[in-house]
Subunit: 615 residues, 2 copies
Amino acid sequence: MQMSQAQNRYKADLRELQFLVFEQFGLRDLLSKEPFAAWGEDEVRMVLDETYKFATEVLGPLNGVGDREKCKLIDGKVKTPTGFPEAWKKLYEAGWRQLSGSEEFGGQGAPRTLQVLVEEMFSGANVAFMMYPGLSLGAAELIDHCGTDEQRKLFASRMYGGKWGGTMCLTEPHAGSDVGAARTTAKALPDGTYKIQGTKIFISGGDHDCADNIVHLVLARIDGAEAGTKGLSLFIVPKYRVDASGNLGQPNDVKVASIEHKMGINGSATCVMQFGEEDSCVGVLVGGVPHQGMKQMFQMMNYARIGVGIQGLAIAGAAYLSALEYAKDRKQGSSITAWKDPTAPRVAIIDHPDVRRMLLGMKAKVEGIRALIVKLSMHQDRATALGGKNDEQAAYHQGQVELLTPIVKAYASDQAFRVCEDAIQVYGGAGYCQDYPVEQYLRDSKIFSIYEGTNHIQALDLVGRKLGQAGGKHTQEFFADIGKFVSAKQEDAVLGASVKNLAKAQEAVGSAAFQFLGWFKGGEMAKVPLNANRFLEMMSELAVGWLLLEGAAIASDAQSKLTKDQKDWFFYEGKKQAAIFYAQNVLPEVVAKAKMLGNGDKSALEIPDEAFATV
Amino acid sequence: MQMSQAQNRYKADLRELQFLVFEQFGLRDLLSKEPFAAWGEDEVRMVLDETYKFATEVLGPLNGVGDREKCKLIDGKVKTPTGFPEAWKKLYEAGWRQLSGSEEFGGQGAPRTLQVLVEEMFSGANVAFMMYPGLSLGAAELIDHCGTDEQRKLFASRMYGGKWGGTMCLTEPHAGSDVGAARTTAKALPDGTYKIQGTKIFISGGDHDCADNIVHLVLARIDGAEAGTKGLSLFIVPKYRVDASGNLGQPNDVKVASIEHKMGINGSATCVMQFGEEDSCVGVLVGGVPHQGMKQMFQMMNYARIGVGIQGLAIAGAAYLSALEYAKDRKQGSSITAWKDPTAPRVAIIDHPDVRRMLLGMKAKVEGIRALIVKLSMHQDRATALGGKNDEQAAYHQGQVELLTPIVKAYASDQAFRVCEDAIQVYGGAGYCQDYPVEQYLRDSKIFSIYEGTNHIQALDLVGRKLGQAGGKHTQEFFADIGKFVSAKQEDAVLGASVKNLAKAQEAVGSAAFQFLGWFKGGEMAKVPLNANRFLEMMSELAVGWLLLEGAAIASDAQSKLTKDQKDWFFYEGKKQAAIFYAQNVLPEVVAKAKMLGNGDKSALEIPDEAFATV
């Protein structure tokens, strides 16, 4: 099978992005005033256009290259695939990494919502490459927020600008989901620095050839600190030691022991790192405070989790548009209306009902997840825009960010994989071949449900922390927002039946939430993790169904002012049909899931370990 | 991450295989009498033991090798991975390819059920390798059944024995699911042979270095034949021409233009084949009859489809046992009963409820699908055992084979992918790395839903042909079998609640079947393909739920005679819990799906093509 250049090109639907920010989520409310005074509608549109160009012209062409060439470990140093160091340089030179960064370090102070959409396009074009600047930005933000002023100026400034890279070093061979079991040690030295010793695994970008230095953020236990997560501290451990002016000195003893051979994201180096195994490895405490490692890391982790949600969205979106293009192009079989006539003309496969079903299902998931992620980032931006005023409103927005974060991470990552599965199915045999991009999308996307906290960790965060946070206030406000929409639109001529499915789904989620309360109180603790993933899925489907229908209602109004010869008429029609599809084909499952959850099946708890198999 | 040798070893649970054939499906009824007179219980057990040994010792170690080395096209010839030609030789020398073959050509006349279990183990150990002998056997059986006596003796005999290989050449660049659009031509030559010209794609084992000759079965249109599938004929086109004694002569002009670079099954060469592009390529009509190509091919295709179902089962089973082993071995976190104590001892991850949930879900799917496949093969064997007597019984068994074939192919292949997804999730980050086998299982398994008729083709076969076949008799008999079980067991103390879920699922499937009848009759034809996949899934879940519960009822009886210090007590407990899990966590979805199907949502039909995206 041969692929045309066009078919492997990353595509985004800018019209859809504009709809979300300007028509559905009201970004204009925040533009051209503090703290986003420099950002008007024109600037936002311009950045979307330009970053899309960057995504397709610079990052996209390296996506297949990175997958085929992979990273290599040569003499202890990681060599990234051809073109990666140059792309890194271009990315920072163009300023696209500093869109929403603070102006103190050269950032442009854009709304986070804009950055989210840019991240989607960049990751959609080349998710493996974007791991390097992605983790680097996260590490820079952590130092910016938690570091001493000296650390901020020395490290964060250079990391924001791409001169230095950064990593997060949490996981150890025996401490993955169980971070608190980490064994890496830190010994205080007389000069206030610490001697770091230990092994970290699955370190993305643990080494690379894109930046002059790499700043590792390493979680370690200071000698004598207590067990578990509470005894962990966070250290800045640069690959090359630096003086106060940022000049590079001697290397620390930071070794890449090996790199993983993975199923996907092959352009991203996943390293086993050894700190201070033979020689001296020196680090400084982030912010100069001990035993705050988990708290500091968590701040960054929330962004990282939203970041993984964006990765899921990005790959799902790319896979959808790729499959759509193929379905419009590929001719096979005749129309269902002429199925008995072998001489009937061949049609594009988008004509076949089953292909339409897959495509519309993909579209609904992609656009619903995108709406959810933009909703979340708008909560962040609105909280920022309040600038410390109106505490109640700020708490509302911040509460929604807390509640939606695990949902975004887990649902987007799980569904990205499903969307890729459908994309391959639309392609048929061609989709299984490396000539087309969808099989790489699927391989790349499988990691999203695992890293930055597995999706079960997200589900536990949701049911164990977020659901009851602030006395359940965040959850109640989330339900109230949906309730308002249901009241307003349940009698809508076009969408009413679908909105009623939303109301049923909400009722089901509400009753399931009370189940959890009962299990917590009634001592049936094991049922909480047993049902947590299912509950997260239900909450996600409720949220996505709501935002799709909200968008559809706006689209329906806008469409009524247009005629069928206008391109936007079709755009709005697509928004409506995707929402209806989701409401009719996904939301009813929420009700079924609530019933199953309520049945209280305990078979998975009751089966003895020896009964799983005789081998 | 490092893998111990043991963790990458293929494993099968022989106790489970024995349970199915001897305790649940009554293979003993057929043993030690005609036509299986040579096969007693001891022989069956011995073959299972020996083939398991062959799978783990010969085939399993080459699975990773094949994936890494892949096939190479050198000077127009395919070089298979290291060890493949030797494994081919050992496989045929040991006689394992001729278990159920006809005795005329050296076959051992075993029940097909035994062969199915052997195929599962061989494909589970190395599915890519097994493509070569698998397609070869299919091609041999086709010639055996449809060929002239001369063709049978010349070709089939050598293909059964592994001296020559075989392929099926159907797909063309513009004729995949739409086989009838094939453009390969056949021109009659004066000596009764045909000149073949055309290009075929996705030809598994189109060339390899395991056998002396390769016999291609090529679908082509004789000049002047009608359009569509009815005008196609099937030709025997050997790589090297042969004389009547089987001596190899001049090569035919059969070229491998290229091999595909795929997501998985990399040890299997997927070829683009050119027949008669430059020079002469001569073939003979299978059976000497023209225009019967599709009919002849279909006979083989049914076996091939069941074969893909077995591949799905095989990979799912291997992935399950691999994840189970890891879950018992890998320590992470503390028990849920001590979740607030950081000093609590670390436990194996199988202790965590979410891991148990995934494992039991995998076990239920694997064992349910295995039961379904064995059920199908037992129908085949019982029909064979009737030997032409008792037409009504034979028609019943044959009808069930027809009905279950698309279900086995589609459900096993779709769920294999899901089981692999869960297996990776159980492994966590390690599962994403090539040190462990599960990421390869996932990549290998993705093709199963596509080849040998996509799963949508299977769904159309089910709703368009099988459901109403013989006036709906096969479907009614299938329902009657389930109904009998429900009546007998719905008040069972342990399983009763689950059996009631089965009854509800059956009712739901029944009402959905009537929906289809309405759409066919009411002229709403497009709703048939739109809902076909969902219906196939419902029927599959019903069938699997039934057979799991049937097995559980048998296990429950057997268990009541044992005490907890006996290994089998745990084996039977596992059968029960898996059935309960499926009945409580999957069967209720059948009811939800029926409701959705009944809603008649048409969004995917109504959305205009231009509304899917603006790009």
